[in-house]
């Protein structure tokens, strides 16, 4: 006896058939059959609506056995038999009836994680100039492997498989092979023997693993593609398309590794963070605080060809790249957080990377439905775009507030609305049911602002509110345990859990609103947002009504902004203490007006606060009166990729000056200074580099980086960027009517040829908009004075050494004192005859510059020599994400140039 999930039916159960099949693949056929109808002997054609027929087998199994992801399962003694022949590479192989499995809830002793074996790998392939490596042609030359036990700091295996000989590396097992096929086969055997539970790497799912498999196939290494744990299953490369509202659409490779989890750190990074660049360089610089040497593709083949020592160099680099993903996983706690997420939501671990949010909710829904004897219907995908009204955004009262602004937030707004009003599939009413059961409005059921009806919890507690309640109380408990816990590792685990619980609770609402999802129910989601809007409006009214001069408060409070689940209140007080006190009071006051568990919390005070626009603001964030917690910015495009690094630098500095130092004047002076420096060519080139990925060549419109890549290919096919590379460029001065895309140029080429930068482009197209945005609330229409005025009058343009005009130019020395062109007889002198007496001063001034440049040169190149981990080898790194990459090149140029200037003094004064 079961009850359908959808709609309230007066708590009446009905009989259902449960159909078992031998093979999950038969589910589809059976489903079709039930829908179409089949003949029941004696009673004729019978057809019905199948329930729960679209649940993945894996999740079905886990739901039925009550196993959650990344948890412990016990095989009771005597219930299993050991297999005589091994079909897998596992250490133990047993058979057991699935009903005998004992699943342990991951709490207490069972919350410990297993000592999982993690293989982190990286491969190098030799390519041909200008062509991205193709598995059919280009050999794999090295495979570096680092194996670590989860929870331990140092790996216990470090090895590298190399094609051709390789000089030894201390602490690393170097395995050299003369035949590539031999190397690949032995690597495959290595994977089987070391038997990792998890395989990680950077872009391994889309590059390293498919490349290895394709390459082995191209070479006919038949023993290779058995990387999973089941002996006879070949590992194949397929393509999947993954589409999710939260993560966007992404096409990726799919590789079956039975019994092993693939965890591609690049994919995880893309899910968890928004970054300018996802290159391993950029990511390790950001999270591990270190730049890494980057060997350009073009020289990999050369290093491979030359000698055992150069191959060793490559191997060291390859090993570093194999170890970095492991360190990132540890540092960012990807595994721990994912395990906790798998435990909380009950999905298998590998779903977390390959699947979206929905499956997590589905898994929980089925688990709870099973316990309450509910069956989940299968809805045909509705498609369409039945939009419903979203959250409220209160029109911001823009400006720079140098008074404390209190922020009141509804804690877990949407989950608590669902709980407060008992919104669920199981409580949804329609007119007929109301009439049939004689339900009374406001006694038996609630009418939501969207005129949908749900029975009250006195009639039936909804499944979703029940799930949410469990999630939120589990989160409370995890947070409480965290406070008590001393062991830092356990704290990390608990933190991972409370985060997972929070995310899960919040995703339930999204699940009901996802139209092309499994079980959309717009009555629920539209009601939720409608309640949310109403509550925000009510909060605004309550606050503005109560906190007035009339009620003996020092000023009339105004709500200056509000979004979704928060309102920002200006109580008109001057001190943090007052703002915090009133904030707390107001939160309690408003909370009392709402149904439990809805709670308005006072969380923080912004002081000062810069409100720019909807979803765009910045403020100094205080939770205590002693010190501020952080500088909080929202919606200010400091990470947009088509900005040059100067933009976030200037924005951040300005915001810091305005908010932390409360020095608006200083921020303006600083901005003018930067613009002056820019116009006078004093900004480091690396600050002006814009980077875009060359993803496909058939762009409709002409794009700067695509055009540039084409031009670079014509100059030198070998070093030109390839598909998938990120193309760095700067905008240079072009002819009068040149389009922006014609003016993009390779920064290295710009340095080599002294090409002048189009500084106006940087002022107008890079700095003006973001700066106007943050200064406008303060300066209003006067904001344009930042970009015009005295500070923009001095412009310095470098003279190019190539180009049409350069060929016709005669270089004439000018006096280093007064810049007048030197007469013929003085050409080899430093100064003109009028400046002769000032020679010591002029010399010292030029020496100042020389000293500065010598220091820059020395420090930069010594640093690169250090960073690459070798002093006897030339620095070949091309990591253009590194802030000193262009600087060091420029230091060479500038120092050389200044040395020539100093040479000009080389005569008897």
């Amino acid at each position: 006896m079961r009850e359908p999930l959808f709609g309230y039916h007066g708590n009446v159960k009905a009989p259902f058939f449960k159909i078992f099949v031998r093979n999950p693949r038969q589910i589809r056929q059976v489903t079709q059959m039930v829908k179409r109808g089949f003949n029941v002997p004696g009673s004729g054609l019978y057809s019905g609506t199948p329930y729960e027929s679209n649940l993945e087998f894996t999740v079905r199994f886990m739901v039925d056995t009550d196993i959650v992801g990344a948890s412990w399962v016990e095989l009771p003694v005597g219930k299993y038999t050991v297999r005589s022949t091994n079909k897998t590479f596992c250490q133990y192989e047993v058979e057991i009836d699935y009903r005998d499995l004992v699943a342990h809830e991951p709490v207490g002793e069972w919350s410990k994680t297993a000592p999982l074996r993690i293989l982190s790998l990286d491969i190098e392939c030799s390519g041909r100039p200008g062509i991205f490596p193709e598995a059919k042609v280009d050999p794999v030359i090295q495979i570096a492997n680092v194996v670590t036990i989860q929870g331990q700091k140092q790996p216990f295996i470090r090895n590298v498989f190399t094609l051709d000989t390789c000089a030894p590396i201390p602490g690393v097992d170097v395995k050299s092979f003369q035949e590539e096929s031999d190397m690949l086969l032995r690597w495959s055997q290595f994977v089987q023997i070391c038997d990792p539970d998890i395989i990680i790497g950077y872009n391994t799912t889309d590059f390293d693993l498919p490349y290895l498999i394709d390459r082995a196939a191209a070479l006919g290494v038949h023993g290779f593609p058995f990387l999973g744990r089941i002996r006879d299953v070949t590992t194949k490369v397929g393509t999947t398309r993954f589409s999710s509202k939260a993560y966007g659409t992404r096409e990726s490779k799919d590789i079956n590794l039975e019994g092993r989890v693939q965890f591609d750190v690049l994919a995880a990074m893309r899910r968890e963070y928004k970054l300018r660049s996802f290159s391993l360089n950029a990511v390790s610089a950001k999270f591990l605080g270190e730049q890494k040497e980057d060997v350009p593709y073009s020289i990999i083949s050369d290093l491979q060809r030359e000698s055992p020592e150069t191959r060793r160099r490559l191997a060291v680099y390859c090993l570093k790249d194999a170890f970095l993903p492991q360190r990132l996983v540890d540092k960012l706690m990807f595994l721990i957080n994912s395990m906790e997420m798998a435990r909380v939501t009950g999905v298998p671990f590998n779903y977390l990377l390959t699947r979206g949010q929905q499956i997590k909710v589905v898994s929980q829904l089925y688990r709870h439905a099973l316990r309450q004897d509910l069956v989940v219907p299968v809805l045909e995908s509705q498609g369409g775009d039945g939009q419903y009204e979203g959250a409220t955004v209160i029109e911001p009262k823009r400006g720079y507030y140098d008074v404390p602004i209190a922020t009141l937030d509804f804690a877990s707004l949407y989950p608590s609305i669902m709980m407060a009003h008992n919104l669920c599939y199981t409580t949804l009413l329609n007119k007929q049911t109301i009439e049939r059961l004689n339900l009374v409005k406001d006694v038996d059921f609630t009418v939501t602002p969207t005129n949908d009806c749900f029975v009250k919890s006195s009639k039936r507690i909804g499944l979703l509110p029940h799930i949410l309640k469990e999630l939120l109380s589990a989160r409370k408990q995890a947070k409480a345990e965290m406070k008590k816990e001393k062991d830092p590792f356990r704290i990390q685990v608990l933190n991972g859990r409370q985060l997972a619980l929070k995310i899960s609770a919040n995703s339930v609402y999204g699940f009901t609103g996802a139209l092309n999802g499994r079980l959309p129910c717009l009555q629920i989601s539209a009601s939720v947002t409608a309640f949310g809007r109403k509550m925000i409006e009510q909060t605004v009214q309550e606050v503005e009504k109560r906190y007035t001069k009339e009620n003996n408060y020092c000023a009339d409070a105004t709500v200056i902004y509000g979004d979704t689940d928060s309102v920002m209140v200006n109580f008109g007080v001057k001190t943090l203490e007052d703002a915090m006190r009133l904030g707390q009071e107001a939160a309690d006051y408003v909370t009392a007006k709402f149904i439990n568990p809805i709670k308005l919390e006072f969380e923080k005070v912004y002081f000062p606060y810069l409100l720019i626009n909807k979803k765009r603001y910045a403020g100094l964030y205080w939770t205590r009166t002693e010190t501020y917690d952080k500088l909080d910015t929202t919606g200010l495009e400091t990470v947009r990729r088509d900005n040059c690094p100067l933009v976030p630098l200037v924005l951040d500095t300005c915001l810091k000056m305005m908010l932390i130092n409360q020095d608006v004047q200083g921020a303006m002076e600083y901005t003018k200074g930067v613009i002056a420096d820019l116009l006078q060519n004093k900004i480091d080139l690396s600050m002006l580099v814009i980077t875009k990925q060359l993803s496909k060549t058939d762009y409709a419109g002409k794009q700067a980086h695509v055009e540039l890549a084409e031009r670079m290919r014509k100059r030198d096919a070998g070093s030109a960027p390839q598909l998938g590379d990120r193309v760095p460029y700067v905008i240079i001065m072009g002819t009068k009517n040149a389009r922006a895309y014609e003016k993009a140029e390779d920064p290295i080429y710009v340095l080599d040829n002294n090409l002048p930068i189009d500084v106006n482009y940087y002022v107008e197209h890079q700095l003006t908009n973001p700066l106007t945005r943050i200064f406008e609330p303060i300066l209003g229409s006067k904001v344009s004075t930042l970009f015009k005025g005295k500070h923009t009058r001095t412009i310095h343009v470098s003279a190019p050494t190539t180009g049409a005009l350069a060929r016709f130019m005669v270089k004439k020395n000018t006096c280093l004192g007064c810049k007048t062109p030197l007469k013929k007889e003085d050409q080899d002198k430093a100064v003109c005859k009028h400046c002769k007496d000032r020679l010591p001063e002029i010399y010292v001034r030029n020496m100042d510059t020389m000293r500065e440049l010598e220091m820059r040169y020395s420090r930069l190149w010594a640093e690169c020599q250090r960073c690459q981990g070798s002093i006897n080898n030339e620095v070949v790194c091309t990591n253009s994400d590194c802030p000193i990459f262009y600087m060091r090149k420029k230091a060479q140029k500038d120092t050389e140039e200044q040395a020539r200037v100093i040479d000009r003094f080389d005569y008897s004064w």
Partner: protein, 446 residues
């Protein structure tokens, strides 16, 4: 001050002034910077390797222990004791990181130098052309050794691929040319450092007294008799301090260098007094208007219009070799020793550190890593090819002298020359005995 008018002393003069015989050792010529530092390290290793090997062989092979040389550091294998030769490189978080500075401030400024680079978190490596291996063991952790020193280390590989060092040895002191000693009379060389003339006060009273003293216009007759024996004066660095401009060097306001004219002229006039009575050699120092990277090229003679008139005036490099009356001197303005002090593991005096560098046969091993220097590619000028009889270095807090002795009877006086502007002290080196004495130039307060 009482002067005996009856006695007249004739200044001792050298027959020939050959002090600039070796002046090209540290001259760079046409400078080019489109290169890197790897070749400098490579030249250093290749030049010193045979010398280090020679010493290592004597020390570890053929005696009761027979320890074999492993020719490449990466070929070391297993627990069997062996020795390897390479360049020491100390990786440590204590070194000021350029990258970190750029990431934080987007600008490269002179870094705040720590007191020491050594200790917690350091990793010592030995590198040759094949690669590098990490050195461990107490013998390394407590050794005063600098990045860039070429060394042989004896020990064995640990299971995790590191090299456990038992003992180490270096190139040893270089061969020393014979010294021509004139036994007939005492000849003195005056060593001065750190005049630190500033725009505000170019010539202090003490500087004036110093010039009078050296030239023999001050002191009693005993002083004057001794003064007359001074055959050469060397100023080891930091003569001028044209305070560097604030902010960007291109900033016209911050870059007002007009006052420098007066400073330069005053110092020129001051030095010309000394140059008038004896050969005077000027070395640039860390804050002089000369290069900042070693070897500093000579201060421009154009800044010394009056001194130039005297044939005994020389403007030379830092460091520099001098041959004074058959005695070979090596001088530096002190930057190299100052940086070495940051690698010291014991309470070693600057003189002891400088003496140690002679044993390494290299006076500036920490260049280019932590000591700024020019990117040489063909040779390493800081390698000591011929061992000087005297090695002095300037800008030290106090005077000090030690005698460094080599295994082949070499002997070098290592002299720390104090900063004159604070110590008011000049060092007199006797070329006959190589003994040193100091003279304190008293100002009004004394």
């Amino acid at each position: 001050m009482e002067v005996d008018q009856d006695e007249v002393f004739q200044r001792t003069r050298l027959v020939t002034d050959e002090s600039d015989k070796y002046q090209s050792e540290f001259k760079i010529g046409r400078r080019t910077y489109t290169r890197q530092y790897n070749k400098l390290y490579y030249q250093r290793l290749n030049t010193l390797k045979p010398n280090v090997h020679e010493h290592a062989r004597r020390k570890w092979e053929g005696q009761k222990q027979q320890i074999k040389w492993t020719q490449r550091v990466l070929n070391v294998e297993g627990p069997e004791p062996t020795y390897i030769i390479g360049t020491i490189f100390i990786d440590t978080t204590a070194k000021p990181s350029t990258l970190e500075q750029v990431e934080k401030t987007h600008w490269i400024a002179s870094p705040q130098e720590p007191e020491t680079y050594r200790g917690e978190g350091e990793e010592v490596h030995l590198e040759d052309e094949s690669g590098r291996i990490r050195l461990v063991g107490a013998a390394i952790d407590t050794a005063t050794i600098a990045s860039g020193v070429v060394a042989a280390v004896m020990g064995s590989e640990t299971p995790d691929g590191q090299f456990d060092v038992i003992d180490m040895c270096f190139a040893g002191m270089a061969p020393q040319p014979a010294r021509a000693v004139d036994d007939t009379q005492d000849k003195l060389v005056a060593l001065v450092s750190g005049l630190n003339a500033t725009v505000e006060q170019p010539v202090t009273l003490e500087m004036q007294l110093l010039a009078e003293y050296i030239c023999g216009n001050a002191g009693g007759s005993a002083d004057q008799r001794r003064n007359a024996q001074i055959v050469h004066t060397i100023v080891a660095g930091v003569t001028h301090i044209p305070e560097p401009p604030l902010g960007h060097t291109e900033d016209p306001r911050a870059n007002d260098r007009v006052p420098v004219q007066g400073l330069v002229a005053a110092v020129d006039e001051y030095l010309a007094d000394i140059a008038a009575s004896m050969p005077l050699t000027l070395m640039p120092g860390s804050r002089d208007p000369a290069d900042i990277a070693l070897p500093q090229q000579p201060l421009h003679p154009g800044m010394f219009t009056q001194c130039k008139a005297y044939s005994g005036f020389r403007s030379t490099t830092n460091p520099a070799y001098f041959d004074v009356d058959g005695t070979l001197l090596l001088g530096s303005s002190g930057q190299n020793v100052e940086d070495l002090a940051r690698y010291a593991m014991h309470d070693e005096s600057p003189c002891q550190l400088a003496a140690r560098s002679l044993l390494w046969r290299h006076i500036a091993p920490s260049a280019p890593d932590t000591l700024w220097c020019y990117p040489f590619t063909q040779y390493d000028p800081f390698i000591v090819r011929r061992l000087p009889h005297v090695y002095f270095f300037g800008n030290q807090p106090t005077f000090d002298v030690v005698v460094a002795k080599g295994t082949d009877a070499q002997e070098t006086r290592v002299i720390a020359v104090p900063v004159f502007s604070t110590s008011h002290t000049v060092v007199l080196l006797n070329l006959r005995t190589l003994e040193c004495s100091t003279v304190h130039i008293g100002g009004l307060k004394d």
